[in-house]
Symmetry: C2
Subunit: 181 residues, 2 copies
């Protein structure tokens, strides 16, 4: 089951490594960026992980919703991994506007392994197609949720956001969903 | 089958993205590093990908064999991926000494997904243990080999090196194996 392995890979090779540093990365960011309102809200000192059910992932969030703007990246985190010296791990900070034009900053990104699921479903030799893909996204979500609930390194540092594609006609669906969290 | 998904992920999320830039990264590196002997040999302008059958991966190659030294990193490659702006992809260059004390430079790293296989085999809830792990490494190797043989973006840009662990008593096994390629 592809999604099972990808969820474990996402945890073991990424979230478990980066989430313990998130708090201090955010503090360094606030010290170097004049905005004192940064990360004021209760949910915003966490990594928001977006998971669209249809696995259609954008590389730039502002392309999905014009109430979202890229602000800046958190400081780089360099870790020696499997022979690559100082492999760089980083997250992007986005500014999200609510319906009253108030701006909120948050650290948000899509779950990268969903890109693999999406691409695999279009590769003839990879072994699964569009119908199985939605199932695999759900399996990925549930497996990851289960792993993270038992992880002490990741506790309280993340929020998983499953995105239903039935609201695709609302141009501000993404910003509203992010702000709910 | 975990290894199948990890092989596709490694190709779709990494090799397919980075191998087309390898040649120009090496040229930039040679221009900025005085060593004109760099990458002289026939096999060395490729990414050498190490795959130990026992999935035991080091983060620094010189810890495995003292005839190997870290030299420097190739220039960073920045790509917007799934909401992370300017995500950094890079490779490390190592200097490997042969039995006549001659030094060869090469771009080499371990196949990172094997770290996931190794770690999963020690997580009680992940679903497989040590005996299945070797099988999964072989499946990863064969699946990746098959994918890469049909890939135009990766053609002639890589070399897969399967490492048998029966030579672990030879302190220079890794350097000798790398130099064979
Ligand atoms: N958002 C995000 N930012 C990151 O820096 C990052 N690094 C890893 N991941 C995701 O975590 C999981 C585990 O990563 P691993 O390194 O074992 O496998 C990686 C790794 O073997 C290889 N790879 C990807 N990026 C790099 C890189 N920069 N250097 C070396 N190898 C890389 O290709 C696999 C798939 O990568 P992604 O498909 O981007 O998603 C990975 C994966 O789902 C990341 N996700």
């Amino acid at each position: 089951n592809v999604a099972h392995g990808l969820a474990w890979s996402f945890y073991l090779g990424y979230l478990r490594l980066v989430l313990p540093y998130l708090e201090s990365s955010i503090e360094t960011f606030c010290a170097t960026h004049r905005s004192t309102q940064l990360f004021g809200g209760r949910g915003s000192r966490k990594l928001l992980i977006l998971m669209p059910l249809n696995a259609k992932i954008s590389h730039k969030l502002e392309e999905e919703d014009d109430r979202i703007r890229f602000y800046d990246n958190l400081p780089n985190n360099e870790i020696d991994r499997a022979g690559v010296r100082g492999r760089v791990y980083k997250h992007s900070v986005y500014r999200v506007m609510d319906e009253h034009k108030k701006v909120h900053e948050c650290v948000v990104e899509y779950a990268t392994p969903l890109l693999t699921l999406y691409n695999m479903s279009h590769e003839r030799t990879a072994g699964f197609g569009d119908p199985e893909r939605r199932q695999q996204v759900l399996l990925f979500f549930r497996t990851l949720q289960d792993i993270l609930e038992h992880s002490l390194e990741c506790r309280n540092r993340y929020k998983l956001i499953l995105l239903n594609d039935e609201h695709e006609d609302d141009p501000h669906f993404l910003s509203k969903t992010i702000l709910k969290h």
